[in-house]
């Protein structure tokens, strides 16, 4: 198990807890991560909205680098993951577009051959490493913790282009949560959107969409929410205070974690190595419960 690691703009810019916890935990599970030299933005969401050629150029540029490395690419962001999947699809379908993209890539000595492979973190953990191996390596089980699973839209849809998990009944993140000894159960809003992509057009509506889901998650008795998407995480964790303000509801306190942070705690890593000091939601009491 060896992958070209693509953290992507959001993760490497300010989501250090995600990147650190991925780099801390995956090698412990037999996954080798190789950094990509010279990578760049995937083009989502700005370029996909205003320049189809620019979007596919940027996505294909990274795919070409991974092809050259001879490795499947592991993007950490759901948005990047889908962006690469969509570009692979469009460049397969439209050979004229592919040759125009390649004429630009050539200027940097790159070439998109159409053989790139892209994997999602949920696939690596669930399908490659496997739930049994993870369960077997847990030294600090998350006993009694009720955790809501939030896979995020771009991990599970559209199912005609990708099959990371079932689009209407995703279970992989749930299985991975249970492997750590925690509890999880289905809830009606599980596959609902966090609203983050609306922030650029309507900040207030974004907070309302995210807040409604937080409220629902709390009402079912979950003690925390877990995701693998940096956009969703920033919404529920980083903007939780803003959500409380917008919904005028101070009770909307919910600890939010990247899955790899909880995985790291369960495997015995120290909270600081997992970047937990940068979660802005109230995670302290849960971290203490796990590490004590």
């Amino acid at each position: 198990m060896k992958y070209a690691l693509y953290p992507g703009c959001t993760v490497q810019t300010d989501q250090f807890g995600y990147e650190a916890s991925v780099r801390e935990t995956l090698p412990n599970l037999g996954v080798e991560l190789v950094d990509m030299r010279g990578a760049s933005c995937c083009g989502f969401p700005a370029l996909s909205s205003i320049s189809k050629v620019g979007w596919h150029y940027l996505s294909a540029r990274n795919l070409a680098i991974a092809e050259k490395m001879g490795l499947a690419m592991l993007p950490l962001c759901n948005g990047c993951h889908l962006s690469f999947i969509e570009t692979m699809h469009f460049l397969e379908e439209d050979l004229e577009l592919r040759s125009i993209i390649n004429s630009h890539l050539e200027k940097e000595g790159l070439m998109y051959e159409g053989n790139a492979k892209v994997v999602h973190l949920l696939e690596v953990l669930h399908d490659q490493v496997g739930v049994d191996r993870i369960r077997g390596q847990v030294v600090k089980p998350l006993k009694g913790l009720k955790i809501a699973s939030h896979p995020g839209c771009h991990a599970i849809r559209p199912s005609d282009l990708q099959k990371v998990d079932d689009p209407e009944d995703p279970r992989k993140l749930d299985d991975l949560i249970k492997a750590l000894g925690a509890e999880t159960f289905d809830y009606p809003e599980k596959i609902d959107c966090c609203g983050s992509q609306l922030a650029v057009a309507s900040g207030r509506t974004t907070l309302k969409i995210a807040g409604d889901k937080l409220k629902a998650v709390k009402s079912y008795g979950f003690e925390a929410l877990v995701t693998t998407c940096p956009f969703c995480f920033k919404m529920y964790d980083g903007r939780q205070r803003a959500i409380k303000g917008a919904l005028k509801d101070d009770s909307l306190d919910l600890p939010v974690f990247y899955y790899t942070q909880l995985l790291g705690l369960a495997l015995g890593s120290s909270p600081d190595r997992l970047g937990l000091q940068m979660n802005m939601s109230p995670v302290d009491s849960i971290v203490e419960r796990i590490t004590e």
């Binding site: 703009c9 959001t10 490497q12 810019t13 300010d14 250090f16 990147e19 650190a20 780099r23 950094d35 030299r37 010279g38 990578a39 760049s40 933005c41 969401p45 700005a46 370029l47 996909s48 909205s49 205003i50 320049s51 189809k52 050629v53 620019g54 150029y57 940027l58 439209d94 577009l97 125009i100 630009h104 200027k107 940097e108 839209c153 771009h154 849809r157 559209p158 199912s159 005609d160 689009p167 209407e168 609902d192 959107c193 609203g195 992509q197 609306l198 922030a199 650029v200 057009a201 309507s202 509506t205 309302k208 969409i209 970047g275 000091q277 940068m278 979660n279 802005m280 995670v283 302290d284």
Partner: protein, 171 residues
């Protein structure tokens, strides 16, 4: 300059005609599964994927291109997933955004900042120093994370990106 814009329009139009072709073959029944799944329809009056498809399939594009509504889609993809006729309001909306931009209508200015960032460093933004929960600050280096390395020849990369994106912008 114009030729590059024409290139964008050519591919955007090709994608739209392919989609509309599929729509004509399948025919939208106006069942409303897209709108009932849409997180934005619940919150913003005037955003309705079902009505949007009706307008596009009858060629009423011009009003749509000028509306803020096309920029408020969260790209959650539930409409595309649940359409029983395999029509994708999500893809139609992305195409309308591209057309609106090419036609010089308004779009969220935040996108310009993203693109400026990409031209400057290869990424939307450079690594920041972030806050910790107890009021401290952390950098990538503090976390022991490797330095971010963008394209090796930034000048060349910037030139390519500008050539593709900027040249086609109208207005």
């Amino acid at each position: 300059m114009a030729t590059r814009n024409e290139l964008e329009v050519k591919f955007i139009s090709r994608m739209l005609s392919r989609l509309v072709g599929e729509m004509n073959a399948e025919v939208c029944d106006q069942c409303g599964k897209c709108s009932s799944a849409c997180p934005v329809s619940k919150e913003i009056e005037g955003f309705n994927p079902r009505q949007l498809i009706a307008k596009v399939s009858t060629g009423r594009l011009n009003g749509l291109l000028k509306e803020d509504a096309i920029w408020t889609c969260t790209t959650c993809l539930k409409c595309r997933e649940r359409c029983p006729e395999e029509i994708s309001p999500y893809d139609v909306i992305l195409i309308l955004r591209n057309l609106a931009y090419r036609a010089g209508y308004s779009y969220p200015k935040g996108y310009d900042d993203f693109i400026e960032g990409v031209k400057e460093s290869g990424y939307v933004s450079k690594p920041q120093t972030v806050k910790t929960r107890d009021g401290g600050k952390m950098s990538r280096e503090d976390m022991g994370l490797p330095e971010v390395a963008g394209p090796e020849d930034m000048g060349r990369f910037r030139g390519i990106v500008e050539g593709i994106i900027e040249a086609g912008k109208s207005g």
